[in-house]
Structure formats: structure tokens, C-alpha cells
Amino acid sequence: MKIGNVDVKVSIVAIAVFVVFTILLLIASVFNPDVRSNLILLIPCLFMLLVIPTALNYMSRSQYAEITPVYEAEAKTVRVKLVNENMIGKPVRIQGVLERVYFQFLNRPQYLVADRSGAISVKMFTSPDEDVKVDDVVEVLGQVIRRYIIVGEPVINCVSIRKIK
């Protein structure tokens, strides 16, 4: 779904929650007259289960779209092996093969990107602009962060991931 220039993606979990509560509401309204009398309130609440994740995704996607050009201008292209804990907070660009994809269904994908020098975790806190798959050659723009905010090995907080061939 496109809102303005932003391609909004609702996670399958949000849709599943909406479907489950819709079924529950239907069953409850069939068997309970009290529920039927409150449908005017319950139906909007039900739709909020879809609207809120959609709005959050729109907000994060539009913010990422704004900061991507800044990262494109500032990020240095580095090899994976050169990313280290002294670079925490630095914008970087890496190019490599997508070896693994996790949690895509939650709209919080994590990738394992490898180049000749090594592999690194890439975390994204929203859905990517472009769907990327294992074995794609990708370019990642992002910031070096620690895996668990203050501890853990360096990983990349991804702002943009796209196929380069």
C-alpha cells in the first residue's frame, strides 16, 4: 500500500491479530446481545489494530526515506572486516552477499551480510524499501551500533538495503 511516496507494509503478525480479533468479535456478537449493542465502539477499535501498525510503519518508513540521502552522502564504503567497536556511531556503506534473513515477517528484519573479508549482522527497525532475498548482492547503508545498545559486538543499524545486481 502506497501513502504518498511511502510504500507502507503491514506485518503479517498485525494482520493475524486483526483476523483473530475479528473472528472473536463475530462469534461474541452472534452469541451475546450486549456485544452487539456495543459494536459501534468495538468495530473502530478492531480497525485500530490495523491502523496503528500501518501508521507506525508509515512514520518510520517516511523518516528512513528522509535520512537515507544523508547517509548516502556521508557513509564511507568499508569492508566488513574494518567495522569494529571503535566505529560505533559512524555511518557506513557495505556491499556483500546476503547470507541469511531473519524476522522479515515482523517488519523488523535482520540480515547477515558477507563480503570477502567476513560477515556482519545488519538490523533494520522497519520494513525495507526493496525486498531482498538470500544470495542477493546488496548494498547496505547504516550506522555502526552495538548489538544490545551498550554491549555486544558491532552490528549495522540499517537505514537502506538494496540489490546492486
Binding site: N84, N86, M87, R116, G118, K165
Partner: protein, 283 residues
């Protein structure tokens, strides 16, 4: 563009424990399973003691497990969060039989997590602290080799080497270039350690390429065969141009680290901050 996949991730071997670490490792199943066993024994004998008190063994066991996870350079979020679960499970009072059953399951889980921690999350530092305070092998051995092989270098050049290494590690490539320029001017004519000058030049060249986000050039600076004795990694064969390019930089950075470590004691704290990067380059 040709990009090869990385080598498959290998698990670190089982560590050899020193005495305090061994005791801490034994204490995890000791406290948790011990608490659960005491609870079972006392409940069977119909003791008047509230056997739920033995859940404290699981709380202590999970705190020790979290400590063992905390002191490792690579953190295990599951082991780190076990104290939270232990409090959730055991602080809220429940039926005696349920508590004992949960204690037993929880104690077994802690033991499995301890085994997983030792197998998958590397060695715990002997000092028991996560901060870098000493130089470790194989970097330490390399620094000693360079001390034995290398020529005399001034404190000033060693300081330059430390700053170039640190700036490069921080991704401050322009700063690394300017300090490398100053260093090469300072060691001009000093032929006692020619590999060091080459190292400054190689790092400078790579820093410029990285600053400009430029790719690998057709021609680039490399160490010569006589320099090989002072280098951490062997020079790759002539036909492996990508390896030669990358190993040149790794050798150059490691040589700067070793020269700085041996020649400038006041910069050792700065170098220790970059130790994990240098150790990564050694691999």
C-alpha cells in the same frame, strides 16, 4: 563485482577453566539443582520448613550464570536475562508442588544454558572483567616478534603509529592520512626499520581510498619480500590480487600497532581500546 561468501562460522573450542571460573561454572548447577533437590527431600519428609525457600538456589544460580555471560566479550542475552525470569518464577508465591516442579525444570534449563554459553559464546577473560586491560595472544606474540625483528624507532614515530592505527580504527580516515604524512616525514632517511615507513604509506593509501569510497585500484602499495619477517601475515601469491590488497592493509595496521605498543608506553591505553580490531585483523 566478484564477492565471495565468508567462511562458515566456527564455534570456539571448549575453554580451559581457571580455578575461580571453574567454581563459578560448577556453582550454577550446584545452587540450582541443589536447591531443587533439597526442596524435594524436605517436602518428602514432611518437614515444617516452607520448601519454596529453596527456590533461592535457582535465583543465585541464574545470577552467577548472568555474571558469566556478562564478563564475556560476546554477550548472551538469554543467559543475561535469566535473573529476571528467576525472580518472576519464584518471588510470586504458588503451590508447593508447582514450585518444586518449576524449580527442577528451571535448574535443568540453567545447566543447559551454561553449557550453551561455554560452547557458543567464547572464553571468559581470566581477570573476570570484560574491560581490555592486557594484550592477548596472538597479538601479544606478534608484538614480541616485531620487538625482536624490528629496528630502533623513536617515541615520536611510535606515537604517530598509535594515532594512525586509532584514527583508522575509528573510521577517521582523513585524520589518519594527515598523521601518516607527518610520520613519514619524520622517519625520512631512517633506514633501520623500512617496513614501518611502508606501513604508514599503505595505511595512508587505503585511508584515502576509503575516504573517497573508492574501490580497489589496479596498482597499489605493498610490502616487499624482505619485509615479510616483520609482518603478521604471509604475503599472498602474486596471482591473488584481491588478497594482496587486503592483506597489505592488515599487515600495515598490525605493524603500526606492534611498533606503537613496543615504542610508546603512554599510548598503550589507546591501543588497548583498539585491541579487538587488531585481533580481528590477525584472524
Amino acid at each position: 563485482m566478484v564477492i565471495q561468501m565468508s567462511d562458515e562460522k566456527t564455534h570456539p573450542p571448549l575453554q580451559k577453566f581457571n580455578r575461580p571460573l571453574l567454581l563459578l561454572n560448577l556453582a550454577v548447577p550446584g545452587f540450582s539443582l541443589g536447591g531443587a533437590l533439597l526442596a524435594i527431600i524436605f517436602s518428602r519428609e514432611g518437614s515444617l520448613i516452607d520448601v519454596r525457600i529453596f527456590a533461592i538456589g535457582c535465583v543465585i544460580g541464574s545470577l552467577i550464570l548472568a555474571y558469566l555471560a556478562w564478563i564475556r566479550p560476546q554477550k548472551d542475552i538469554v543467559a543475561l536475562s535469566t535473573p529476571i525470569y528467576s525472580f518472576l518464577f519464584f518471588v510470586a508465591p504458588s503451590d508447593v508442588s508447582v514450585t518444586i516442579f518449576l524449580e527442577l525444570l528451571y535448574a535443568v534449563s540453567l545447566t543447559i544454558l551454561l553449557i550453551r554459553l561455554n560452547l557458543r559464546f567464547g572464553e571468559a577473560p581470566e581477570s573476570g572483567r570484560s574491560g581490555e586491560t592486557v594484550l592477548k595472544d596472538p597479538l601479544k606474540s606478534y608484538c614480541e616478534t616485531v620487538r625482536g625483528n624490528g629496528g630502533e624507532i623513536s617515541h615520536e614515530v611510535a606515537h604517530f603509529a598509535a594515532v594512525v592505527f586509532a584514527r583508522f580504527a575509528q573510521g577517521e580516515y582523513l585524520a589518519a592520512v594527515s598523521v601518516a604524512d607527518a610520520a613519514t616525514a619524520d622517519i625520512e632517511g631512517n633506514s633501520t626499520f623500512p617496513a614501518l615507513k611502508t606501513a604508514f604509506c599503505i595505511v595512508r593509501e587505503h585511508a584515502i581510498l576509503l575516504e573517497e569510497s573508492a574501490g580497489q585500484p589496479d596498482a597499489f602499495l605493498e610490502f616487499s619480500t624482505p619485509d615479510a619477517g616483520a609482518l603478521a601475515k604471509p604475503l599472498p601469491p602474486q596471482n591473488k590480487i584481491n588478497d594482496r590488497f587486503e592483506v597489505s592493509l592488515e599487515n600495515a595496521l598490525l605493524l603500526l600497532f606492534a611498533a606503537a605498543w613496543n615504542g610508546s608506553e603512554k599510548d598503550r591505553l589507546l591501543l588497548l581500546n583498539g585491541q579487538s580490531f587488531a585481533q580481528k585483523l590477525m584472524q
